[in-house]
């Protein structure tokens, strides 16, 4: 059983790495998009495991995008380093916001993170000299000279790093802390868990991931603008992916991202406007009909079958 699992891992990873060798440009492009959405979905889930609903994924994504582009343009930082800086900037914003609101948590946290996206749109629009205002900024050249395979591998690396982060969160004491907090904050406190510390840590780590994904996105399309970089799509799509696949697990987001990512690509072509409605619908349906998502529901069925047979 154990060995099987490793064989599956190795096959999946080698298929993923060798993907650009046998796929055309368009599939590589689609796969890159799906991988970045996967990282967003998974990072969102990591914080949800502590019972915290962040609706600010697109805010950190956009902060990452803008920081990347602006440091690259103004300070001539290399593209890769600028992406790292994008992640750091998102992390710093999360730290400051977290220090202010994570003590109250719950709905306050959800509201403030949702507002964050709109706030940064306003800020970016109004700081015209720095950010190019409503028009945004262009980078003269795309990262890696626009080589889709290289961009794919970079995104793959980030997605894998996110999966590893998620697994670390699942396998260490952090898991015990976050799941206890989600279950009952008062009981968690009384078990000696410093709720604030763990949630702040999880919030900053996930914001960094979201910022890095945003940075890569900006470098990939060589472009930032308030509407594009802070688009609510980057909140809604990952949430729908995670909820569909199943929250509180690594596999859930991976499966949700794979499934919905391919669908999203078709939808984008089939219905150029209004396709977000579908993701909203997916979210609502998942919450109402399948609150554990695909993975959670299947797992539950397996457990039931096992106990029934024994």
């Amino acid at each position: 059983m154990r060995n099987w699992r490793y064989i599956v891992y190795i096959v999946v990873i080698s298929l993923a790495i060798s993907f650009p060798f046998y796929a055309g440009v368009h599939p590589i492009h689609v796969a890159t998009t799906i991988l970045s959405l996967l990282a967003l979905a998974l990072s969102w889930d990591i914080l949800l495991r502590g019972g915290q609903l962040s609706l600010g994924v697109s805010a950190f994504f956009g902060i990452g995008s803008y920081t990347t582009v602006l440091t690259h343009l103004n300070w001539e930082v290399s593209p890769l380093l600028s992406i790292v800086l994008g992640g750091l900037a998102a992390g710093v914003v999360a730290l400051v916001i977290g220090l202010a609101v994570l003590r109250l948590r719950g709905l306050y946290f959800a509201i403030v993170t949702l507002a964050l996206t709109f706030i940064f749109i306003v800020i970016v629009r109004n700081l015209t000299d720095l950010t190019g205002g409503a028009i945004g900024k262009l980078i003269p050249s795309v990262i890696f000279g626009g080589d889709p395979a290289m961009i794919y591998w970079l995104t793959l690396a980030i997605a894998v790093a996110t999966i590893i982060t998620s697994e670390i969160f699942q396998k260490t004491r952090i898991h015990f802390a976050l799941t206890s907090i989600r279950n009952n904050e008062i009981a968690a406190k009384s078990s000696g868990i410093d709720i604030f510390k763990y949630l702040l840590f999880a919030f900053v780590v996930t914001a960094v991931i979201q910022g890095v994904v945003g940075g890569v996105h900006a470098q990939r399309f060589a472009f930032v603008s308030p509407e594009e970089s802070f688009s609510l799509t980057f909140t809604i799509l990952p949430l729908a992916m995670c909820l569909l696949g199943g929250s509180f697990s690594t596999l859930g987001s991976v499966i949700g991202a794979g499934g919905l990512g391919v669908l999203a690509e078709y939808l984008r072509l089939m219905m150029p406007r209004g396709h977000l409605a579908i993701y909203g619908l997916v979210m609502v349906m998942a919450i109402l009909l399948m609150p554990k998502g695909i993975v959670g529901t299947i797992r539950e069925q397996l457990v039931r079958r096992k106990t029934a047979s024994s």
């Binding site: 004491r173 799941t179 406190k189 009384s190 078990s191 000696g192």
Partner: protein, 238 residues
């Protein structure tokens, strides 16, 4: 020698005075019973001691330190362990893992050490089937798990909030024995309990709360004959 001393503690919820000028002393290695009619403020007192609520005024001295303002998780690490009246075990973890949470964070153990300690404690309490899904536990097992969880934080003082409620007589007797065994390991214990038989059998000393005030304190026999206590329980009007 007192482990925990509470001085003149007052706690209000809006206009309601839940605790008013409560003084309490927990002596080392004793079992203190906290009794009183419903709504007397017993659970509120435990919540203030364990740091769930802060008091409006008064002081809490634990082990020579003033912990009045300390947050709950710090008090837990200092050595105030507790169980909850309404238990909400973490269904995402199995029995052993639930207990592990206590040693992981209450005493900062590593995963391996926490697992070993949790196993020890479960064994000590006679809690078997520790890999089990907790939705399939009996009431007794859940109560034991809750105690194990509190013990895993390695407390000096253990606060037990109605752990016998919902148990039958044999089970309650088993838990009484366990509480004694825990005390024999050097712990100081404070129990809230409704069944007077259990209080009589288990405790060294009792403290009676009524409407947020301490109305009597002493040996069970003394207290149970105190007219104020009797009238508090019978609800006589004076």
């Amino acid at each position: 020698m007192s482990v925990l001393r509470i001085e003149n503690l007052t706690r209000r919820f809006g206009g309601l005075v839940a605790l008013s000028g409560v003084n309490l002393e927990l002596r080392e290695n004793e079992i203190l019973g906290l009794i009183g009619p419903n709504g007397a403020g017993k659970t509120t007192l435990l919540n203030v001691i364990s740091g769930i609520y802060l008091p409006n005024s008064g002081r809490i001295i634990f082990d020579g330190k003033d912990v009045t303002e300390s947050p709950a998780h710090i008090r837990c690490r200092l050595g105030i362990g507790r169980t909850f009246q309404i238990i909400q075990p973490n269904q995402n973890l199995n029995v052993l893992e639930n207990v592990m949470v206590g040693s992981l964070f209450g005493q900062g153990a590593g995963l391996k050490e926490a697992r070993r300690k949790a196993q020890e404690i479960c064994q000590f309490l006679g809690l078997s089937r520790i890999e089990r899904d907790i939705t399939r536990l009996t009431v007794l097992e859940i109560k034991k798990m809750e105690m194990a969880h509190a013990l895993a934080t390695q407390p000096k003082v253990l606060l037990l909030d109605e752990i016998m409620t919902g148990l039958n007589i044999d089970e309650a007797r088993e838990v009484i024995e366990l509480v004694r065994k825990i005390r024999d390991q050097g712990m100081t214990i404070c129990v809230i309990e409704h069944m007077m038989r259990i209080i009589k059998e288990l405790t060294d000393r009792v403290l009676v709360l009524d409407r947020g005030e301490v109305i009597a304190e002493g040996l069970y026999e003394e207290v149970s004959n105190d007219p104020r206590v009797i009238s508090a329980y019978l609800g006589e009007e004076e």
